[in-house]
Symmetry: C2
Subunit: 194 residues, 2 copies
DNA sequence: TGGAGTTGCATCATTGATGTTGCATGTTCT
DNA sequence: AGAACATGCAACATCAATGATGCAACTCCA
């Protein structure tokens, strides 16, 4: 590769990045936004977007792939396999929130029919599953907890925290984990544990 | 009104109902579904849908209006103003779930720029707010609970329960309220209450 | 300076969804 | 049977988004 092509490719990649980020901003507000609006937000012509991404699907696919990679990295950086369950839970939450705050739309579309993305997601899901199992065995979750439901609730709480958007990732993670484990009640006046 | 027109109007309303229900089924699976697909599901021609609803927006608006009415009725039937907070919470949850299981898409679109729907929703939101305040004063929620966050979590749990779809509305409501108040953890190994 | 590569702009073709209309065919009640 | 209305069908018009292309202008580096 010549110096020239390297520099040019760098320019091109910068443009691609700008488009991806613009698309995230626009589509997170309006998932049905047009290519024109995305191009405008990115500060480029619509034709440029089409030169970089063969189709709308290709663009969304690239966004999903990018977000999936950052997502997987965020989970891995928390060392969910080796850290104690509570620590892992907190760190994963904070790291994932950091990604989700910036790539919410892309992550919501990351479950499309892309083989690689599906593989990565399955892998992460597996890790999440293990953390929850470990948490239950460590007595962090109730012994009779439905892990499927717990995971759904966990995802939903992360989603809500990312939407509310007030506070940094660490504060939000604290709130998410606290709510997940303790709820918002005092546990008075309730039926005895099942 | 003549007998004839009454009978005909009854037929027409039956068709309208079929279209609304078909639209809910189709759009809940694919929000971008075409009028053609909706008509097919309803067992009518596409032109018939257009005769009944001037535009796609009008159709979605009618779905939202219908769901909003059922939603408001469901909340009211739980007597949230007079029942004890925990009872109110449970009854409202179960009743709303019953509606949401059938009209999930329509309810998700019920916050559009329709003046009447907006008014009804604001009213319900107000009631929800009051129930949560009463719950906190009754010691059901923690004294330092963030009511805004609690309400978001509550909505999210209802949504998840409706999506998971296993079990009847009562079982799901039990799960939702239990999770909302106690979370899924044992409260061991956590930091002391703030 | 010259070449390689990229972008913006204008333009066009295609496509799929939406919405409309006329007409023949039922259906229901009187 | 006849009136009133609804429906299916076919055809049409419209429209917006998508995607493609040719060309001039620009940037960057050798």
């Amino acid at each position: 590769m010549t110096e020239a092509t390297r520099a040019l490719r760098s320019d091109a990649e910068r443009t691609v990045r700008q488009i991806l980020e613009a698309a995230e901003r626009v589509l997170s507000r309006n998932p049905a936004a047009t290519m024109e609006q995305i191009a405008e937000e990115a500060g480029v012509a619509r034709t440029t977007v089409h030169r970089r991404f063969a189709s709308r699907d290709a663009l969304v696919g690239a966004m999903a792939a990018w977000a999936t990679r950052r997502f997987a990295d965020a989970v891995e950086a928390a060392h969910p396999e080796t850290a104690p369950p509570l620590v892992a839970l907190y760190q994963v939450t904070a790291n994932v929130l950091r990604v989700k705050l910036d790539w919410g739309f892309a992550m919501s579309r990351a479950l499309t029919a892309d083989p690689e993305a599906a593989r990565v997601h399955a892998e992460v899901e597996e890790k999440c599953e293990r953390v929850f199992r470990a948490a239950r065995e460590a007595g962090l979750l109730r012994a009779d907890a439905d892990l499927g439901w717990a995971r759904r609730v966990y995802y939903a709480l992360i989603h809500e925290a990312a939407q509310s958007g007030d506070g940094d990732a660490d504060a939000l993670a604290t709130r998410v984990v606290d709510t997940l484990l303790r709820g918002v009640g005092t546990a008075q006046g309730l039926t005895a544990p099942r």
